[in-house]
Symmetry: C2
Subunit: 122 residues, 2 copies
Amino acid sequence: MSAPVTINLADKFAAFSDRWNPRIVGTYNGNELRVAKLQGDFTWHSHADTDELFFVVEGNLGIEFRDGVRRIGAGEMLVVPKGTEHRPFAEDEALVFLIDREGEPNTGINPSDLTRASLETL
Amino acid sequence: MSAPVTINLADKFAAFSDRWNPRIVGTYNGNELRVAKLQGDFTWHSHADTDELFFVVEGNLGIEFRDGVRRIGAGEMLVVPKGTEHRPFAEDEALVFLIDREGEPNTGINPSDLTRASLETL
């Protein structure tokens, strides 16, 4: 057990600038708490064995599903159920808090040029 | 699988006013996404089989541990590891997003007059 520490999201976002490259900021029940800066178009993918939570801290995020687009603004969240194909995108930079199962690739079962094999811990 | 929906936290907080009575707003990998309004002193407790995530959306939350107090402000979070005794408190009302294992009592293994046996889903 590690001692509980307060995680300040603004501090974490200030520590990096590249996009579509999540950082790990903590763990919860075998899941990774991640932060990412998203802008532009991500690639279609799904996560076979884990849900994925998106919580928008700043900006606006879109997620395209096969049945249409959902929009997520600051103070809003959305859970992508495991096995569900989706494609995040953002016209302007969005600061996003995510939760994924530990070790889950950011592109799930669909590797692309945006896959980040190993994530940095902040 | 349920269709992914955007969860607006402000809307959820506007739907109730009582304190120390979490509402369920979604699920993620067998965990419940909850929102709660916290003010005053909670009771000492621990969760035997689940971590507990506190994310402060508005206001300031304190959590007392056996080794001291941690403070969590808006935009900050803290994960209480399973088995760790803790006691949340707030001088003024704090709006908090929490994650617990599905069905976990809000007072864990230590029932008190603040135990809420069954949580409403918003």
